[in-house]
């Protein structure tokens, strides 16, 4: 552990915080192209955040301190999560503080604060959103944990950088267990990030919205932080997927060259991931809220299948 590791660590966090809105912009752009619309600028999310920061915050009369604190906590947990995930390098000092299971716990913390804040003002939408968000959450979390079990059994550790290191040391073979879990993980990613089969990020139709319902009472800087945190969440999930399923090329030291290669490779992987996400969102229709459990139960079963296949074949 030395000063270079810390620099790489801070670089990784800064990269995540800075690049997260770009990823959202890229997904939106891809989706617009696929749907034959003229695409917005890739930098649009930034402009949105900047605009929101400059506005006056309007807060409901009976909002408590929890309501005002929640955006900072959610943003803070997402930045911490970004620090835990080995996105560009595996020798990160902070990743010792939390392994993959703790990461799941961290994401759950953000979800709970988000839901509590939504219930704070006491409107029908907020509570509705909170209960739907928690429903999606409790269905997605076990699936995500089983995914993590499979990769930790494969690599004999739950520490994410070691998982990435050990999996990237393997040759490029698609093991059946990892294939199943990759499908499960993608489904969890869609559900947890309010993407189309489960939720529509572009809707404000009251009957269907989940994530937007949670944010309905937020404005200005609080909303900006929440949006930024949501972008970071997507970025984090994408980086978990990259680190676990396509880790090849990640820097295992802190040589500048390998780091540069790693950053470029991460960018390319995320470009493909974002395009894939846009494709999924374009090709599928939104499910009714009560079909969401089936969707996530399928994800859970895929993950369990991956686990069983791993234990049976021992790959």
């Amino acid at each position: 552990m030395n000063v270079f590791d810390w620099i790489v660590q801070l670089l990784g966090i800064a990269l995540a915080v800075a690049a997260a809105p770009v990823l959202v912009g890229w997904v939106n752009q891809c989706r617009a192209w696929l749907q034959n619309k003229s695409a917005p600028s890739i930098l649009l999310p930034y402009r949105g955040i900047r605009k929101l920061f400059h506005k006056d915050a309007v807060i409901a009369e009976n909002a408590s301190r929890l309501f005002r604190l929640a955006p900072y906590v959610v943003f803070g947990t997402m930045v911490t999560a970004a620090a835990v995930i080995p996105s560009i390098a595996t020798r990160l000092p902070f990743t010792q503080a939390a392994d993959a299971i703790a990461l799941v716990g961290l994401l759950a913390t953000a979800r709970v604060f988000l839901s509590l804040a939504a219930m704070d003002v006491g409107t029908a939408f907020g509570t509705l959103g909170a209960r739907r968000e928690m429903m999606i959450g409790f269905l997605a979390e076990p699936a995500l944990l089983v995914v993590i079990f499979v990769v930790s059994l494969t690599s004999a550790t739950t520490a994410l950088p070691l998982i990435a290191e050990r999996l990237s040391a393997q040759s490029f073979t698609l093991t059946p267990s990892l294939a199943f879990t990759a499908v499960a993980f993608t489904m969890v990613l869609l559900a947890e990030n309010a993407r189309i089969p489960i939720d529509n990020p572009a809707t404000h139709l009251e009957l269907t919205m989940i994530h937007e319902a949670l944010l309905l009472e937020y404005s200005a800087r609080h909303l900006a932080l929440m949006e930024w945190a949501a972008a970071l969440k997507l970025f984090n999930y994408a980086c978990i997927g990259v680190a676990v399923f396509i880790p090849w090329g990640i820097a295992t030291g802190h040589a500048p060259l390998s780091l540069a290669v790693s950053i470029v490779l991460l960018g390319v992987k995320l470009l493909f991931a974002g395009a894939g996400l846009a494709l999924i969102e374009t090709l599928s229709a939104k499910l009714r809220v009560f079909r969401a459990p089936e969707f996530l139960a399928t994800a859970f079963l895929f993950a369990v299948l991956g686990l069983l296949v791993h234990l049976l074949l021992g790959d």
Binding site: A57, A60, E61, S64, Y72, F75, A102, G122, T158
Partner: protein, 668 residues
């Protein structure tokens, strides 16, 4: 061995005696709230805190035994303080300190039983739990166990003028005694033909495989009944809401753990080496209880019932872990067994703190509003900020969120589940990891339940106008809550210290401690070769730093203007507290998803109703399928037997005569 006056065992005995004395002192001025509340309960709390310290010190000393010539002639009481007893004594002392301080400000006039009597029952309850943990022979154990059951029965029925509470108390007493019979029988088997009922004799006895299995199953039934393991859980959701909140806290936080203590004592200590497949019983029952409890908790509308079901969930988690530890120990995997047992002890300690905290929180709300039903609460964070923020710590802890304590034990348990594939038995080693998946589901659902619990009570708008007059808790109550919240935080932040205490237990139970690692004190690395680590302090520090930096950053670079306005009402106007989601509404997705669990009776209004009525009752299928037929059967048999009671002296004399004749005939 240290037999002096200052040995931990002697000191603990003195402290337990002090509790009994406090109990009796309550009778001096039975009607004085001031005397009981301001003097006796704080004194009890102090004794609890000292007991915890003494028990913690005892962990660094070898186990010690003492024989006291009390009780029946030729049946002296054997007492022993070892690591396992020590850990549970810490739990008892530390949690009860917070609960007693809270109780000092909680009990008021007009709560049924007179305060002095309540003080007697309460402290007797505490002392008997202590003696359960120290007992080293079956007689002393059963005596303390029964005292515990009886004193808690009277505490549950504090408001004995309400018929429902009497019923709940009776149900509790009934199941407690069924359990006690099973435990008694289990001890009867464990002595193994030596007819010595000391635990030492039981350790020395060599049972053959069948008798050992019978003893284990009986113990599981007996202690499972006390712990509230499904299907013996039915008393729990009735008794907890009936009892005053500090009593619920004590029962849920501490008493249920004595059952866990008994189970660990029997399976790892008295039985010696457990057989691996025994573990599958508590494991599967535990998983089912965890899921069952949490699903029912999500559907409840009474805040204390919700917490009671959540206790069933946590007991389920504890027994799951215990089962896994038995499987590991039986399969000869000592290191994973030690890790799992430590996770179980850790979770027991955590649950004692968090559940007590939550129960006391509901007590404060109950006093401030007089409401137990979630449908009549809401928005209390404005009126009762102390209670709300301290309860929030308990809520986040029990939802298993890092960096608080609930997460640590969950993390340890999941880590130990990752060893399960190494169990050298085909199929089982594949099924066991699925247990981890179910455990994760239960833990995630606990988050749902806790958001509902906190959100509906403390957040939103008040659902009743009367709530605007709610007041915050008194100083003593806040102190009690703060003590328990502090426990949750410390248990979460200092896992390495807690674990080094607990590894005394696993070493004494011959499982060995955790492998040594050269990690610094703030970094938890339970299994060095796996390199999984967790550092809650660093973790929390980073979140805190980011939060503070972002607050400062936003202020520095932008502005901090805030405008208050009414909540957005979609332009219709007239938004009020009753338009919020209800507790029933919040549980609706769960009812929908887990329909087979529930027996739902629903009455929905039709479109033409002039007086629309909505009624929803959620029943327990196990109650209907198992207990109701049993109850009907017992009643029917009792009706038949009642025929014997003709009510005439002549008939009864005839019975005596016939009995005598029959006995004489048999003798000859």
């Amino acid at each position: 061995m240290n037999h002096g006056f200052n040995s931990p065992l002697t000191l603990s005995l003195l402290l337990l005696t002090a509790w009994s004395l406090v109990a009796l002192t309550g009778l001096l001025r039975p009607l004085s709230i001031a005397f009981v509340g301001r003097t006796l309960f704080p004194l009890g709390a102090l004794i609890g805190a000292v007991l915890a310290v003494v028990a913690a010190v005892s962990l660094y000393e070898p186990a010690e035994q003492i024989v006291l010539p009390i009780g029946l002639p030729d049946l002296p009481a054997h007492l022993r303080l070892d690591g396992l007893s020590g850990v549970f004594l810490i739990l008892l002392g530390a949690t009860s300190a917070g609960i007693s301080i809270f109780a000092a400000g909680y009990f008021r006039r007009g709560e049924g039983t007179a305060p002095g009597l309540l003080c007697l029952q309460y402290h007797l309850f505490l002392a008997s739990m202590g003696f359960v943990l120290l007992a080293d022979d079956a007689y002393a154990f059963m005596l303390a166990w029964e005292t515990m059951a009886l004193s808690s029965y009277f505490l549950v029925t504090t408001q004995h003028r309400i018929p429902e509470i009497r019923e709940a108390g009776f149900l509790y007493l009934l199941i407690a005694h069924l359990g006690a019979i099973a435990i008694l029988l289990s001890f009867g088997v464990l002595q193994g033909g030596s007819w010595h009922f000391t635990f030492d004799a039981m350790r020395a006895a060599h049972l053959n495989f069948h008798w050992a299995t019978i003893a284990f199953c009986l113990a599981l039934i007996g202690f499972g009944a006390k712990a509230g393991l499904v299907p013996l859980h039915v008393w729990l959701p009735e008794a907890h809401p009936a009892a005053p909140s500090p009593v619920s806290a004590l029962m849920s936080g501490v008493m249920l753990k004595t059952a866990l203590y008994g189970m660990i004592r029997v399976s790892f200590d008295l039985l010696g080496q457990p057989v691996w497949w025994w573990g599958l019983l508590p494991l599967s029952l535990g998983l089912f209880s965890a899921l069952y409890g949490v699903v029912f908790a999500a559907a409840q509308t009474d805040m204390k019932r919700l917490l009671a079901y959540s206790s069933i969930e946590n007991i389920g988690i504890l027994f799951t872990g215990l089962g896994l530890a038995i499987v590991f120990a039986g399969a000869g995997m000592r290191a994973p067994a030690a890790l799992t047992l430590i996770a179980v002890l850790y979770h027991a300690m955590n649950h004692a703190f968090m559940k007590s905290l939550l129960f006391l929180g509901t007590g404060a709300v109950l006093h401030a509003t007089g409401q137990r039903s979630l449908g009549h609460l809401g928005g209390l964070i404005h009126r009762m900020p102390w209670v709300a923020w301290l309860t929030l710590i308990g809520v986040l802890a029990i939802a298993g969120l890092p960096p608080l304590n609930g997460f640590v034990s969950e993390w340890l348990l999941l880590q130990s589940f990752l060893f399960a594939y190494k169990v050298p038995h085909p199929f089982i080693n594949m099924l066991l990891p699925l247990g981890a998946a179910l455990l994760a589901l239960a833990a995630a659902l606990a988050g749902y339940v806790m958001v509902k619990f906190f959100g509906v009570i403390f957040l939103g708008q008040p659902r009743e106008p009367a709530l605007k007059r709610a007041h915050d808790a008194s100083f003593a109550e806040r102190l009690g809550l703060a003590w328990l919240a502090l426990g949750c935080v410390l248990l979460g932040f200092l896992p390495t210290h807690v674990i080094s205490l607990f590894s005394v237990v696993t070493r004494q139970l011959d499982l060995g401690g955790l492998p040594a690692s050269d990690a610094p004190w703030w970094l938890l690395v339970p299994i060095p070769e796996r390199q999984s680590s967790y550092a809650p302090l660093v973790f929390f520090a980073v979140i805190a730093v980011v939060v503070v930096l972002s607050i400062i950053g936003v202020r520095r670079f932008y502005h901090q203007r805030i405008r208050r306005s009414p909540a957005w009402d979609c332009g219709f106007g007239g938004l009020n507290g009753r338009m919020q989601d209800t507790a029933e509404g919040f549980g609706q997705p769960i009812r929908h998803l887990f329909q087979p669990f529930f027996a739902i009776a629903r009455e929905l209004p039709g479109p033409l109703d002039t007086h629309p009525k909505y009624r929803l009752e959620i029943g327990d299928r196990i109650w209907r399928a198992l207990y109701q037929p049993l109850g009907t059967l017992v009643r029917r048999v009792a009706d038949k037997v009642a025929w014997l009671q003709q009510g005439r002296i002549a008939t009864y004399l005839l019975y005596s005569f016939v009995t005598l004749v029959v006995l004489l005939a048999l003798m000859l």
